[in-house]
Protein backbone atom coordinates (compact mmCIF):
# COMPACT_ATOMS: atom_id res chain seq x y z
CA UNK A 1 0.00 0.00 0.00
CA UNK A 2 1.41 3.36 -1.08
CA UNK A 3 1.53 6.16 1.49
CA UNK A 4 -1.09 8.70 0.51
CA UNK A 5 1.61 11.27 -0.25
CA UNK A 6 2.67 9.33 -3.34
CA UNK A 7 0.86 8.79 -6.62
CA UNK A 8 -0.84 5.44 -7.13
CA UNK A 9 -0.73 4.98 -10.89
CA UNK A 10 -3.00 1.91 -10.77
CA UNK A 11 -5.79 4.05 -9.30
CA UNK A 12 -5.25 6.65 -12.02
CA UNK A 13 -5.48 3.99 -14.73
CA UNK A 14 -8.83 2.91 -13.31
CA UNK A 15 -10.39 6.21 -14.42
CA UNK A 16 -12.59 4.81 -17.16
CA UNK A 17 -12.55 7.74 -19.65
CA UNK A 18 -8.76 8.10 -19.69
CA UNK A 19 -7.13 6.25 -22.58
CA UNK A 20 -3.59 6.68 -21.34
CA UNK A 21 -1.77 7.54 -18.14
CA UNK A 22 1.93 8.34 -18.31
CA UNK A 23 3.81 8.78 -15.04
CA UNK A 24 7.32 10.19 -14.55
CA UNK A 25 9.48 10.57 -11.47
CA UNK A 26 10.87 13.81 -12.85
CA UNK A 27 10.10 15.73 -16.01
CA UNK A 28 10.99 19.15 -17.37
CA UNK A 29 7.40 20.01 -18.29
CA UNK A 30 4.32 17.83 -18.62
CA UNK A 31 2.90 20.17 -21.28
CA UNK A 32 6.10 19.91 -23.34
CA UNK A 33 6.03 16.12 -22.98
CA UNK A 34 2.38 16.01 -24.07
CA UNK A 35 3.07 18.15 -27.14
CA UNK A 36 6.13 16.06 -28.05
CA UNK A 37 4.01 12.88 -27.82
CA UNK A 38 1.29 14.50 -29.97
CA UNK A 39 3.86 15.50 -32.59
CA UNK A 40 5.19 11.96 -32.54
CA UNK A 41 1.64 10.79 -33.19
CA UNK A 42 1.44 8.13 -30.50
CA UNK A 43 -0.63 9.79 -27.79
CA UNK A 44 -4.28 8.82 -27.58
CA UNK A 45 -6.54 11.37 -25.94
CA UNK A 46 -7.94 11.76 -23.37
CA UNK A 47 -4.58 11.24 -21.73
CA UNK A 48 -2.96 12.18 -18.46
CA UNK A 49 0.74 12.93 -18.11
CA UNK A 50 1.86 13.40 -14.54
CA UNK A 51 5.19 13.82 -12.84
CA UNK A 52 6.29 13.69 -9.21
CA UNK A 53 8.60 16.66 -9.80
CA UNK A 54 8.64 19.15 -12.63
CA UNK A 55 11.90 20.98 -13.31
CA UNK A 56 10.91 23.53 -15.96
CA UNK A 57 7.19 24.17 -15.69
CA UNK A 58 6.17 27.23 -17.63
CA UNK A 59 4.03 30.18 -16.77
CA UNK A 60 3.35 33.40 -18.58
CA UNK A 61 6.46 34.73 -20.31
CA UNK A 62 9.52 33.86 -18.29
CA UNK A 63 7.60 32.82 -15.16
CA UNK A 64 8.29 29.36 -13.82
CA UNK A 65 6.04 27.16 -11.76
CA UNK A 66 7.86 26.23 -8.56
CA UNK A 67 7.54 22.51 -8.02
CA UNK A 68 8.92 20.06 -5.54
CA UNK A 69 8.03 16.60 -4.31
CA UNK A 70 4.50 16.29 -2.94
CA UNK A 71 2.89 18.73 -5.34
CA UNK A 72 0.76 17.86 -8.34
CA UNK A 73 2.00 18.82 -11.78
CA UNK A 74 0.12 17.23 -14.62
CA UNK A 75 -1.29 17.70 -18.08
CA UNK A 76 -4.64 16.54 -19.32
CA UNK A 77 -4.76 16.14 -23.10
CA UNK A 78 -8.16 16.16 -24.73
CA UNK A 79 -9.25 16.05 -28.33
CA UNK A 80 -10.87 19.29 -29.46
CA UNK A 81 -13.47 17.45 -31.52
CA UNK A 82 -14.21 14.76 -28.96
CA UNK A 83 -13.02 12.05 -31.37
CA UNK A 84 -15.68 9.70 -30.15
CA UNK A 85 -13.77 9.29 -26.91
CA UNK A 86 -15.88 8.16 -23.95
CA UNK A 87 -17.43 11.33 -22.65
CA UNK A 88 -15.42 13.33 -25.22
CA UNK A 89 -16.56 16.89 -25.78
CA UNK A 90 -16.50 18.89 -28.98
CA UNK A 91 -14.84 22.16 -28.02
CA UNK A 92 -15.22 24.83 -30.68
CA UNK A 93 -12.25 27.22 -31.01
CA UNK A 94 -14.43 30.08 -29.84
CA UNK A 95 -14.61 28.37 -26.43
CA UNK A 96 -10.84 27.90 -26.06
CA UNK A 97 -10.12 31.26 -24.41
CA UNK A 98 -12.28 30.08 -21.51
CA UNK A 99 -10.38 26.79 -20.98
CA UNK A 100 -7.92 28.09 -18.39
CA UNK A 101 -10.72 29.82 -16.53
CA UNK A 102 -12.84 26.65 -16.59
CA UNK A 103 -9.91 24.62 -15.24
CA UNK A 104 -9.35 27.21 -12.50
CA UNK A 105 -12.94 26.84 -11.34
CA UNK A 106 -12.42 23.05 -11.26
CA UNK A 107 -9.37 23.48 -9.02
CA UNK A 108 -11.30 25.84 -6.73
CA UNK A 109 -14.16 23.31 -6.49
CA UNK A 110 -11.80 20.52 -5.39
CA UNK A 111 -10.12 22.79 -2.85
CA UNK A 112 -13.43 23.96 -1.38
CA UNK A 113 -14.29 20.31 -0.68
CA UNK A 114 -10.92 19.11 0.57
CA UNK A 115 -9.77 22.19 2.44
CA UNK A 116 -12.77 23.36 4.47
CA UNK A 117 -12.67 26.59 6.47
CA UNK A 118 -10.72 28.33 3.72
CA UNK A 119 -12.14 30.16 0.76
CA UNK A 120 -10.62 30.09 -2.68
CA UNK A 121 -10.90 32.43 -5.60
CA UNK A 122 -9.68 32.92 -9.14
CA UNK A 123 -7.31 35.68 -10.11
CA UNK A 124 -8.19 36.25 -13.73
CA UNK A 125 -7.61 34.41 -15.90
CA UNK A 126 -6.01 31.30 -14.47
CA UNK A 127 -4.57 31.37 -10.96
CA UNK A 128 -6.23 30.06 -7.82
CA UNK A 129 -5.54 31.92 -4.60
CA UNK A 130 -6.46 31.73 -0.96
CA UNK A 131 -5.71 34.49 1.50
CA UNK A 132 -3.54 36.35 -1.02
CA UNK A 133 -1.38 33.30 -1.62
CA UNK A 134 -1.26 31.33 -4.82
CA UNK A 135 -1.96 27.62 -4.60
CA UNK A 136 -2.50 26.66 -8.24
CA UNK A 137 -1.61 27.80 -11.74
CA UNK A 138 -2.85 26.71 -15.13
CA UNK A 139 -1.45 26.95 -18.63
CA UNK A 140 -3.33 25.70 -21.67
CA UNK A 141 -1.77 25.13 -25.08
CA UNK A 142 -3.37 24.48 -28.44
CA UNK A 143 -0.57 22.96 -30.52
CA UNK A 144 -0.79 22.52 -34.26
CA UNK A 145 0.25 19.02 -35.22
CA UNK A 146 1.15 18.51 -38.89
CA UNK A 147 -0.57 15.64 -40.61
CA UNK A 148 1.81 13.05 -42.11
CA UNK A 149 2.88 13.60 -45.74
CA UNK A 150 1.27 17.00 -45.87
CA UNK A 151 -2.25 15.59 -45.92
CA UNK A 152 -5.10 17.31 -44.20
CA UNK A 153 -3.61 20.80 -44.15
CA UNK A 154 -4.91 23.16 -41.50
CA UNK A 155 -8.12 24.92 -42.37
CA UNK A 156 -8.87 28.50 -41.48
CA UNK A 157 -8.75 29.64 -37.88
CA UNK A 158 -7.04 27.90 -35.01
CA UNK A 159 -5.97 24.54 -36.37
CA UNK A 160 -5.15 22.64 -33.20
CA UNK A 161 -6.85 19.30 -32.83
CA UNK A 162 -5.81 18.72 -29.25
CA UNK A 163 -5.93 20.87 -26.16
CA UNK A 164 -3.15 20.51 -23.63
CA UNK A 165 -4.28 21.57 -20.17
CA UNK A 166 -1.41 21.89 -17.70
CA UNK A 167 -2.18 22.31 -14.01
CA UNK A 168 0.09 22.79 -11.02
CA UNK A 169 -1.37 22.46 -7.52
CA UNK A 170 0.51 22.65 -4.24
CA UNK A 171 -0.73 19.66 -2.25
CA UNK A 172 1.77 18.07 0.16
CA UNK A 173 4.68 20.29 -0.82
CA UNK A 174 4.80 22.63 2.15
CA UNK A 175 6.06 26.03 1.18
CA UNK A 176 8.05 26.01 4.44
CA UNK A 177 10.74 24.30 2.34
CA UNK A 178 10.43 26.75 -0.55
CA UNK A 179 12.64 29.73 -1.38
CA UNK A 180 11.75 32.85 0.61
CA UNK A 181 10.06 34.69 -2.24
CA UNK A 182 7.80 31.68 -2.86
CA UNK A 183 6.99 31.36 0.88
CA UNK A 184 5.69 34.92 0.96
CA UNK A 185 3.20 34.49 -1.87
CA UNK A 186 2.30 30.79 -2.06
CA UNK A 187 0.70 28.10 0.03
CA UNK A 188 -0.18 24.41 -0.19
CA UNK A 189 -3.03 22.17 0.93
CA UNK A 190 -0.70 20.73 3.59
CA UNK A 191 0.12 24.19 4.91
CA UNK A 192 -3.58 25.04 5.12
CA UNK A 193 -4.76 21.89 6.91
CA UNK A 194 -1.63 20.75 8.72
CA UNK A 195 -1.98 17.19 7.42
CA UNK A 196 -0.95 15.40 4.22
CA UNK A 197 -3.56 14.77 1.54
CA UNK A 198 -4.28 11.74 -0.60
CA UNK A 199 -2.34 12.90 -3.67
CA UNK A 200 -3.94 10.39 -6.03
CA UNK A 201 -7.42 11.16 -4.73
CA UNK A 202 -6.88 14.88 -5.23
CA UNK A 203 -5.65 14.28 -8.78
CA UNK A 204 -8.60 12.06 -9.67
CA UNK A 205 -11.04 14.63 -8.24
CA UNK A 206 -9.31 17.34 -10.25
CA UNK A 207 -9.39 15.62 -13.61
CA UNK A 208 -13.02 14.62 -13.04
CA UNK A 209 -13.93 18.20 -12.22
CA UNK A 210 -12.02 19.52 -15.25
CA UNK A 211 -13.55 16.89 -17.50
CA UNK A 212 -17.05 17.77 -16.29
CA UNK A 213 -16.44 21.47 -16.93
CA UNK A 214 -15.20 20.79 -20.45
CA UNK A 215 -18.60 19.25 -21.13
CA UNK A 216 -20.33 22.29 -19.69
CA UNK A 217 -18.06 24.62 -21.66
CA UNK A 218 -18.86 22.70 -24.85
CA UNK A 219 -22.57 23.40 -24.42
CA UNK A 220 -22.24 27.00 -23.18
CA UNK A 221 -23.64 26.05 -19.78
CA UNK A 222 -24.40 29.35 -18.07
CA UNK A 223 -23.81 27.86 -14.62
CA UNK A 224 -20.12 27.54 -15.57
CA UNK A 225 -19.72 31.24 -16.28
CA UNK A 226 -21.64 31.96 -13.08
CA UNK A 227 -18.93 30.02 -11.23
CA UNK A 228 -16.07 32.15 -12.50
CA UNK A 229 -18.03 35.33 -11.96
CA UNK A 230 -18.59 34.31 -8.32
CA UNK A 231 -14.95 33.28 -7.85
CA UNK A 232 -13.44 36.50 -9.21
CA UNK A 233 -11.09 37.71 -6.49
CA UNK A 234 -10.55 41.25 -7.65
CA UNK A 235 -14.09 42.41 -8.30
CA UNK A 236 -14.60 45.84 -6.79
CA UNK A 237 -10.87 46.32 -6.26
CA UNK A 238 -8.64 48.89 -7.90
CA UNK A 239 -6.46 47.13 -10.43
CA UNK A 240 -3.98 47.79 -13.18
CA UNK A 241 -3.89 45.76 -16.34
CA UNK A 242 -0.71 45.87 -18.39
CA UNK A 243 -1.60 44.88 -21.94
CA UNK A 244 1.95 45.32 -23.18
CA UNK A 245 0.90 48.41 -25.10
CA UNK A 246 -0.77 50.40 -22.34
CA UNK A 247 -1.64 50.28 -18.68
CA UNK A 248 -5.25 50.50 -17.65
CA UNK A 249 -6.00 51.51 -14.09
CA UNK A 250 -9.51 51.30 -12.79
CA UNK A 251 -12.08 49.35 -10.83
CA UNK A 252 -12.40 45.67 -11.64
CA UNK A 253 -16.03 44.91 -12.51
CA UNK A 254 -15.43 41.17 -12.54
CA UNK A 255 -15.00 38.29 -14.96
CA UNK A 256 -17.68 38.38 -17.62
CA UNK A 257 -19.69 35.44 -19.01
CA UNK A 258 -17.39 35.35 -22.07
CA UNK A 259 -14.33 35.13 -19.83
CA UNK A 260 -13.15 38.68 -20.45
CA UNK A 261 -12.34 41.00 -17.58
CA UNK A 262 -14.33 44.22 -17.29
CA UNK A 263 -12.55 47.29 -15.93
CA UNK A 264 -14.11 50.66 -15.31
CA UNK A 265 -11.53 53.38 -15.92
CA UNK A 266 -12.73 56.96 -15.43
CA UNK A 267 -16.31 56.02 -16.20
CA UNK A 268 -15.46 54.05 -19.33
CA UNK A 269 -15.99 50.32 -19.07
CA UNK A 270 -13.98 48.08 -21.33
CA UNK A 271 -13.57 44.35 -21.55
CA UNK A 272 -10.10 42.79 -21.84
CA UNK A 273 -8.90 39.42 -23.02
CA UNK A 274 -5.20 39.61 -22.24
CA UNK A 275 -2.57 41.32 -20.16
CA UNK A 276 -1.04 41.06 -16.73
CA UNK A 277 -3.41 41.99 -13.93
CA UNK A 278 -2.33 43.34 -10.57
CA UNK A 279 -4.13 44.81 -7.64
CA UNK A 280 -3.38 48.34 -6.47
CA UNK A 281 -2.87 48.21 -2.72
Amino acid sequence: MQPVEFLDVARLRAVDWLREVEHHGELASTNDRAIARLRHGDLVAPALIVTDAQTAGRGRGSNRWWSSGGGLTFTLVVSADGDGAPGGHRLEPRSWPRLALSAATAVAAVLETRVPRHSFGVRWPNDVFTEDRKISGILVEAPVISAPNGTDPPSTGPAAKHLVIGIGLNVNNSVAQAPEDVRARATSMLDLTGAPHDLTGVLIDLIEQVHGRLGRLACDDETLSAEWQALCLLRGRTVTLDTGRRQIRGTCLGIQPDGGLAIDAAGQTERYYGGVLSEVV
Partner: protein, 164 residues
Protein backbone atom coordinates in the same frame (compact mmCIF):
# COMPACT_ATOMS: atom_id res chain seq x y z
CA UNK B 1 19.50 51.01 -47.31
CA UNK B 2 20.23 50.03 -50.86
CA UNK B 3 23.44 48.16 -50.16
CA UNK B 4 22.59 44.63 -49.07
CA UNK B 5 26.19 43.81 -48.28
CA UNK B 6 26.53 46.59 -45.74
CA UNK B 7 27.75 45.54 -42.31
CA UNK B 8 25.42 45.45 -39.32
CA UNK B 9 26.82 48.71 -37.93
CA UNK B 10 25.77 50.60 -41.06
CA UNK B 11 22.18 50.67 -39.96
CA UNK B 12 23.15 53.45 -37.56
CA UNK B 13 24.89 55.56 -40.20
CA UNK B 14 23.81 59.20 -39.69
CA UNK B 15 23.24 59.76 -43.39
CA UNK B 16 20.90 56.81 -43.45
CA UNK B 17 19.03 58.05 -40.42
CA UNK B 18 18.68 61.44 -42.14
CA UNK B 19 17.40 59.67 -45.24
CA UNK B 20 14.96 57.66 -43.13
CA UNK B 21 13.64 60.85 -41.52
CA UNK B 22 13.23 62.35 -44.99
CA UNK B 23 11.32 59.26 -46.07
CA UNK B 24 9.10 59.44 -42.99
CA UNK B 25 8.25 63.05 -43.79
CA UNK B 26 7.85 62.38 -47.48
CA UNK B 27 5.48 59.45 -46.96
CA UNK B 28 3.92 60.71 -43.70
CA UNK B 29 5.11 57.69 -41.75
CA UNK B 30 4.64 57.72 -37.98
CA UNK B 31 7.20 55.07 -37.20
CA UNK B 32 10.10 53.12 -38.65
CA UNK B 33 11.54 50.15 -36.76
CA UNK B 34 14.57 48.47 -38.32
CA UNK B 35 16.50 45.47 -37.06
CA UNK B 36 19.70 44.04 -38.39
CA UNK B 37 21.31 41.12 -36.55
CA UNK B 38 21.15 42.27 -32.91
CA UNK B 39 20.99 45.98 -33.71
CA UNK B 40 17.84 48.05 -33.93
CA UNK B 41 16.79 51.52 -34.89
CA UNK B 42 13.32 52.84 -34.18
CA UNK B 43 12.17 56.27 -35.28
CA UNK B 44 8.86 57.80 -34.31
CA UNK B 45 7.21 61.10 -34.95
CA UNK B 46 3.92 62.77 -34.15
CA UNK B 47 1.51 61.02 -31.78
CA UNK B 48 3.52 59.00 -29.25
CA UNK B 49 0.59 56.65 -28.77
CA UNK B 50 0.78 55.39 -32.32
CA UNK B 51 -0.06 51.73 -32.26
CA UNK B 52 -0.01 50.65 -35.89
CA UNK B 53 1.83 47.57 -37.03
CA UNK B 54 5.59 47.75 -37.20
CA UNK B 55 7.66 46.28 -39.94
CA UNK B 56 11.12 44.79 -39.58
CA UNK B 57 13.43 45.16 -42.54
CA UNK B 58 15.01 41.93 -43.67
CA UNK B 59 18.69 41.94 -42.86
CA UNK B 60 19.74 39.97 -45.91
CA UNK B 61 17.47 41.27 -48.62
CA UNK B 62 18.04 44.47 -50.51
CA UNK B 63 15.71 46.87 -48.79
CA UNK B 64 13.30 48.93 -50.82
CA UNK B 65 13.58 52.70 -50.63
CA UNK B 66 10.70 53.16 -48.22
CA UNK B 67 10.72 49.97 -46.19
CA UNK B 68 8.06 50.70 -43.61
CA UNK B 69 5.53 52.44 -45.78
CA UNK B 70 3.33 49.94 -47.56
CA UNK B 71 2.67 47.34 -44.89
CA UNK B 72 2.17 49.83 -42.08
CA UNK B 73 -0.71 51.37 -43.97
CA UNK B 74 -2.06 48.34 -45.79
CA UNK B 75 -5.11 46.50 -44.59
CA UNK B 76 -4.77 42.73 -44.65
CA UNK B 77 -5.57 41.08 -47.92
CA UNK B 78 -6.49 44.24 -49.80
CA UNK B 79 -2.95 44.98 -50.80
CA UNK B 80 -2.32 41.55 -52.29
CA UNK B 81 -3.39 42.64 -55.73
CA UNK B 82 -1.25 45.77 -55.74
CA UNK B 83 2.00 44.45 -54.31
CA UNK B 84 1.67 40.69 -54.81
CA UNK B 85 2.15 40.09 -51.11
CA UNK B 86 -0.24 38.33 -48.84
CA UNK B 87 -0.67 38.45 -45.08
CA UNK B 88 -1.04 36.08 -42.17
CA UNK B 89 -3.67 37.60 -39.93
CA UNK B 90 -4.41 36.96 -36.29
CA UNK B 91 -7.38 34.60 -35.95
CA UNK B 92 -8.18 35.99 -32.50
CA UNK B 93 -7.71 38.73 -29.97
CA UNK B 94 -4.69 38.04 -27.77
CA UNK B 95 -1.00 38.56 -27.15
CA UNK B 96 1.48 37.86 -29.94
CA UNK B 97 4.58 35.71 -29.32
CA UNK B 98 7.27 34.99 -31.88
CA UNK B 99 8.74 32.07 -29.90
CA UNK B 100 7.40 29.31 -27.67
CA UNK B 101 9.30 30.73 -24.68
CA UNK B 102 11.63 33.66 -24.00
CA UNK B 103 14.63 31.32 -24.28
CA UNK B 104 13.55 29.72 -27.56
CA UNK B 105 14.42 30.72 -31.11
CA UNK B 106 11.60 32.42 -33.03
CA UNK B 107 9.33 30.11 -35.00
CA UNK B 108 10.18 31.99 -38.20
CA UNK B 109 12.44 34.85 -39.27
CA UNK B 110 12.38 37.26 -42.14
CA UNK B 111 13.37 35.48 -45.37
CA UNK B 112 12.36 32.04 -44.04
CA UNK B 113 10.18 29.94 -46.30
CA UNK B 114 6.89 28.79 -44.77
CA UNK B 115 4.38 26.16 -45.82
CA UNK B 116 0.68 25.93 -44.89
CA UNK B 117 1.37 24.01 -41.69
CA UNK B 118 4.46 25.91 -40.58
CA UNK B 119 3.86 27.34 -37.11
CA UNK B 120 4.68 31.04 -37.33
CA UNK B 121 3.73 32.35 -33.89
CA UNK B 122 1.63 31.93 -30.79
CA UNK B 123 -1.35 34.09 -29.90
CA UNK B 124 -2.22 33.86 -26.22
CA UNK B 125 -5.75 34.58 -25.11
CA UNK B 126 -6.44 34.34 -21.41
CA UNK B 127 -3.61 31.90 -20.72
CA UNK B 128 -4.48 29.68 -23.64
CA UNK B 129 -1.49 29.59 -25.98
CA UNK B 130 -2.64 29.00 -29.55
CA UNK B 131 -0.08 27.99 -32.16
CA UNK B 132 -0.83 29.74 -35.44
CA UNK B 133 -0.04 27.97 -38.72
CA UNK B 134 0.87 29.98 -41.84
CA UNK B 135 -1.93 28.39 -43.92
CA UNK B 136 -0.14 29.66 -47.03
CA UNK B 137 3.21 29.06 -48.71
CA UNK B 138 5.82 31.70 -49.35
CA UNK B 139 8.69 33.66 -47.93
CA UNK B 140 8.46 35.85 -44.84
CA UNK B 141 8.96 39.45 -45.97
CA UNK B 142 8.37 41.09 -42.61
CA UNK B 143 6.97 40.65 -39.13
CA UNK B 144 4.20 43.16 -38.56
CA UNK B 145 3.55 42.79 -34.83
CA UNK B 146 5.74 43.24 -31.78
CA UNK B 147 6.64 40.25 -29.63
CA UNK B 148 4.59 40.34 -26.42
CA UNK B 149 2.17 42.98 -27.69
CA UNK B 150 -1.61 42.70 -27.98
CA UNK B 151 -3.09 41.90 -31.37
CA UNK B 152 -6.63 42.19 -32.64
CA UNK B 153 -8.77 39.77 -34.60
CA UNK B 154 -7.78 40.01 -38.26
CA UNK B 155 -4.65 42.10 -37.60
CA UNK B 156 -1.83 41.33 -40.07
CA UNK B 157 1.01 39.54 -38.29
CA UNK B 158 3.31 38.57 -41.15
CA UNK B 159 3.81 39.81 -44.70
CA UNK B 160 4.42 36.91 -47.06
CA UNK B 161 5.70 36.80 -50.61
CA UNK B 162 3.85 33.82 -52.11
CA UNK B 163 6.35 33.69 -54.97
CA UNK B 164 9.35 33.82 -52.65
Amino acid sequence: MSNPSAGAGDVFDVRKIRRLVELMNEHELNEIDLRQADMRIRLRRGDADFTGPVEYVPARAAAPAAPAAPAAAAPAGDSAASDNFTYINSPMVGTFYLASSPDSAPFVKVSDHVGPDTIVCIVEAMKVFNEIPAEISGRVVSVLAENGEPVEFGQPLFKIDPKG
